[in-house]
């Protein structure tokens, strides 16, 4: 039964990696559904990871223990939302090019966070290691189920939150008036505007939600995986989240599948390191996998070619309605 145990461990660790991706990709989803391209996801997650490290660090310094990581998450959200507001203000209000501002956010996020880390920690390139990070919660009864208990029900609270986020997002997007309006703004802002829906407001909401979720995503990396923040903490997870959002075809359930798949790719590369034969596997191909698959999906080589929300990428100019 050794291999079964291994698979349970792998699944468990897949979900840990998936957590940050789900938050990130769902963040991208809300932004793009409202019509704003979010290439800055990586930057927002970096902000989240940094905020979590700093927030939890100061909470620890002031004597808090078990609540420190949760305060870290709040701080992560706050940092990420700063970048979201930047994106919203420039692209929605000033109608700046969304892709460029996204690139700027990615550049700025890494630079600003590292700068602050160096300022706060006297020139060190990473934050002090946190003593209080998130612990795994075993759900009573469910965690005792053989295999599944270990694979699914003995993990971090943030992972449970991510599980819940998927159906909640699907419900919000497809069943509520808010979701209908948000999607209408991303598909045809002119139609939304002429029935009295405030396009600007909904786009701000979409982008800010994106910031909140990406911030949580970044924070979970700090608080479950690395326990500190450095320039390698996020390293590309935001782009994988972006890829997952596209691979999942801008749909929460699709995103769940895509993030699980990409999360597994990440879990695998840690997992196979335990084995001798892993030396012969070109790990680089495992790293590449999410990006290659996303390209193939976009090119229509896997399934039908996909298109995102019709109006994503364009600023809404009411004078042209």
């Amino acid at each position: 039964m050794d291999w079964l145990n291994d698979i349970a461990n792998l699944t468990n660790s897949t979900f840990v990696f998936t957590t940050a991706l789900i938050f990130g990709a769902m963040g991208g989803l809300f932004s793009e559904r409202s019509g704003v391209f979010n290439i800055g996801l990586e930057g927002m997650m970096t902000g989240g990871a940094f905020g979590a490290a700093i927030g939890a660090y100061y909470a620890e310094q002031s004597g808090l223990t078990s609540s420190a990581p949760w305060l870290g998450i709040l701080a992560g959200i706050a940092c990420s939302v700063v970048f979201a507001l930047l994106l919203a203000y420039t692209t929605v209000t000033l109608k700046a090019n969304q892709a460029i501002v996204g690139v700027v956010i990615n550049i700025l996020a890494v630079a600003v966070t590292l700068y602050l880390v160096k300022v706060i920690f006297n020139g060190a390139g990473d934050t002090d290691t946190l003593n209080n990070v998130l612990d795994k919660w075993a759900i009573p009864v469910l965690s005792d189920i053989p295999f599944f208990g270990k694979a699914l029900f003995n993990t971090y609270p943030t992972t449970y939150m991510a599980y819940l986020l998927v159906p909640i997002s699907a419900y919000v997007l497809y069943k509520t008036p808010f979701g209908l309006r948000l999607r209408s703004v991303g598909e045809h802002p002119g139609a939304a505007d002429t029935v009295g829906i405030n396009v600007i407001k909904y786009r701000y909401i979409g982008v800010i939600l994106s910031g909140v979720l990406a911030g949580i995503g970044g924070a979970t990396i700090t608080l479950t995986t690395t326990a500190n923040f450095s320039h390698t903490t996020v390293s590309g997870q935001g782009f994988i989240a972006l890829a997952a959002m596209i691979f999942g075809r801008w749909n929460p359930w699709g995103v769940l599948g895509a993030t699980f798949f990409f999360g597994m790719a990440q879990a695998l590369r840690n997992f196979v390191k335990l084995y001798d034969w892993s030396k012969d596997i070109p790990m680089e191909f495992l790293y590449m996998l999410p990006y290659v698959l996303t390209l193939l999906v976009l090119a229509g080589a896997v399934g039908k070619g996909v298109k995102g929300p019709a109006a994503a990428g364009e600023a809404y100019d009411p004078s042209k309605r």
Partner: protein, 367 residues
Amino acid sequence: MSENQSVRKWSRIFVASSIWVPIIAIILGLICGAIVMWIGGFNAWDAYSALFKKVFGSKYDIGETIRTITPLLFTGLSVGFAFRAGLFNIGADGQFIMGMTGATILGIKIDFLPWILHAPIAVLGGMIVGGLWGALAGYLKSSRGVNEVISCIMLNWIALYLSNYLIRTLVLKQGSQRSEEIQSSASMSIDWLSKAMDNARMDWGIVFGLICTSLFYIILWRTKQGYELRAVGFNPEAARFSGINVSKNMLKSMMISGMIAGLGGVFEVLGVFHYQVISAASSGYGFDGIAVALLGGNHPVGILLSSILFGVLTYGSAGMNFTAGVPTEIVRIVIGCVIFFVASQGLIQMLYKPFTARRDAKRKEAA
């Protein structure tokens, strides 16, 4: 419709910018940097003067500054060229890496040719690999309708890992995380100049960069090919109706763009380092190229000037760190802020609108 419109916007936003926008953007960027330094408890004035002292301090520093400018010039030209054809080449990073990798492998594996043959082969080889990497994004765009921004992001990461794989399996220096040294017959360094500049790493890169700058202008504004590229950039639909093959031109522009970025990578290996390292993250030159192109208004002269500016800032940041203790990231913050202000021209226009309101008024069309 959305696709065309956004394409048209790409070229318009960046082309039709007043000369004031970049200048104000630079000033605002430097001010933002100063504020950030002040928040961090540093003296911004000292830091900025340390920066300039560092750059112009010695012959060595001037030489090294030129070396820093070179890749920025290449990636800036690369991004700018694609912008002119209506494409956002966010993938200059990957093309740069592929150019490096091509040059590294050719520079190491070929060991029987004289310099006169080996060096050109390695340069051309790297350039072509970069060009093909760019053409891949161009192909996905023109034949498959994949947004080039997304495909380029994906291709950047694929390039990074593919390059690591190739270096690791083909030309790894045993027991290290980098390739072996290239053969001296592939070197593009200029040794006599390096000696004259107190051993700064001088190479042919900047010369090629300046050649590319002039070719950029000649191709786009003096040839029929360039006319087609610009027509496609401004209005692909009208170009198609006029018998211009839009797909082919998109492909061409991405390939040329990739070749320019690839050349940047080539000289980084053949001229400067003579080896390539296996790294977890990209150099970021491609993203700096976006900044350079934007600030330079996609015009060759503008790109040259802005690459000099960003090169000076980047090289000088070491001086800031050494003298004033400011983390080098401050320069990335300044660069980020500068593009930010260029991209959100609305912000800058608000600042100088009162002076030019009348001029703008004429341009708007009535509904």
